[in-house]
């Protein structure tokens, strides 16, 4: 998946941020998210994603609705709640600040 196994903890911590971003862009179901992340540093699997999304739903960051599909059973489409949107905005802000701190430090 990635050449930097040592940074797994960083990626793991950022996964929720990444998922917020994807779900924030448009209403998606899990295979969409996996496809979007495949080939990036954040490539992940259903075994990780479903538990994460369930927790985010419990924290009312995302919600889902069932949508019929042409093939197979209905699918869960996730989108952000109001809380999720403000969480995403906060994280975005925080991330920029972290970046600034990181580039300022050690000069």
């Amino acid at each position: 998946m990635s050449a930097e196994p040592n940074f797994a903890a960083i990626r793991k911590g950022l996964l929720e941020f990444v998922v917020l971003k994807i779900v924030g862009a448009q209403s998606v179901y899990v295979p969409d998210i996996l496809r979007r992340l495949a080939g990036t540093e954040f490539a992940t699997q259903e075994g990780t994603l479903y538990p994460l999304l369930s927790r985010m739903r419990r924290e009312s960051l995302v919600q889902y609705e069932w949508q019929e599909s042409d093939a197979g059973p209905p699918r869960k489409y996730y989108r952000l709640t109001q809380d999720g949107k403000s969480q995403l905005a906060t994280l975005d802000q925080y991330w920029k600040q972290l970046n600034k701190t990181l580039s300022d430090i050690g000069r």
Binding site: G47, Y50, G72
Partner: protein, 189 residues
């Protein structure tokens, strides 16, 4: 020839060959154990069952309807082991080590992880425990082997945790085999 078992995945019937069924049962049992204490456990398990069903069906050739290990194994590999997300970054994971029940630890194990799990449970050094086990093996005239095998079969496996390192080939094989056996015998893993 294999017998076919009908399994309900997210409340729809699917046909599995026996050994694929045992593998599936082991995977779901492990997932269920990893998610023990998670309030959304049932819902996550239903999501996973659906994912497994979709993946297996996608891999079946058009004229086939029974799922074998050929379809199931790559499907499970793609879905990956279940990771409990914990309480979220806001609550920062605190002390996930310690106070675990007695179980087998695959990462860093020599055989199946019994000694390692026991050492962690007792809070002592694994090497010390292995030395003690070896001495016991010698003075017992080999009957400790039997005790070890019973423990391998009975002790639950700790969920695989990549942050502990990767498990060796032998512990992984042992883990897979015991879970397969438990599945076959209908023992709750």
């Amino acid at each position: 020839m294999q017998r076919v078992i009908t399994v309900s995945l997210n409340r729809n019937p699917y046909s599995f060959e026996e050994d694929a069924n045992a593998r599936l049962a082991a995977y779901l049992a492990e997932a269920s154990r990893t998610l023990a204490g998670n309030p959304d456990r049932d819902e996550i398990l239903a999501d996973l069952e659906q994912a497994i069903a979709d993946q297996c069906k996608r891999r079946l050739a058009p004229h086939q309807s029974v799922i074998t290990l050929l379809e199931l194994q790559p499907a499970l590999d793609e879905i990956g082991a279940v990771q409990d997300p914990g309480a979220g970054p806001s609550a920062e994971k605190t002390a996930s080590t310690g106070s675990r029940p007695l179980e087998q630890v695959s990462e860093g194990a020599w055989i199946s992880g019994v000694c390692l799990g026991l050492a962690r449970y007792l809070g002592i050094d694994a090497t010390l425990l292995r030395v003690i086990a070896f001495i016991l093996l010698l003075i017992s005239g080999g009957s400790m082997v039997f005790v070890y095998l019973v423990l391998v079969f009975l002790l639950p496996f700790a969920p695989l945790d990549p942050s502990r390192g990767t498990a060796g080939k032998i512990p992984l094989k042992s883990r897979e085999f015991v879970q397969y056996l438990r599945g076959k015998l209908g023992v709750p893993a």
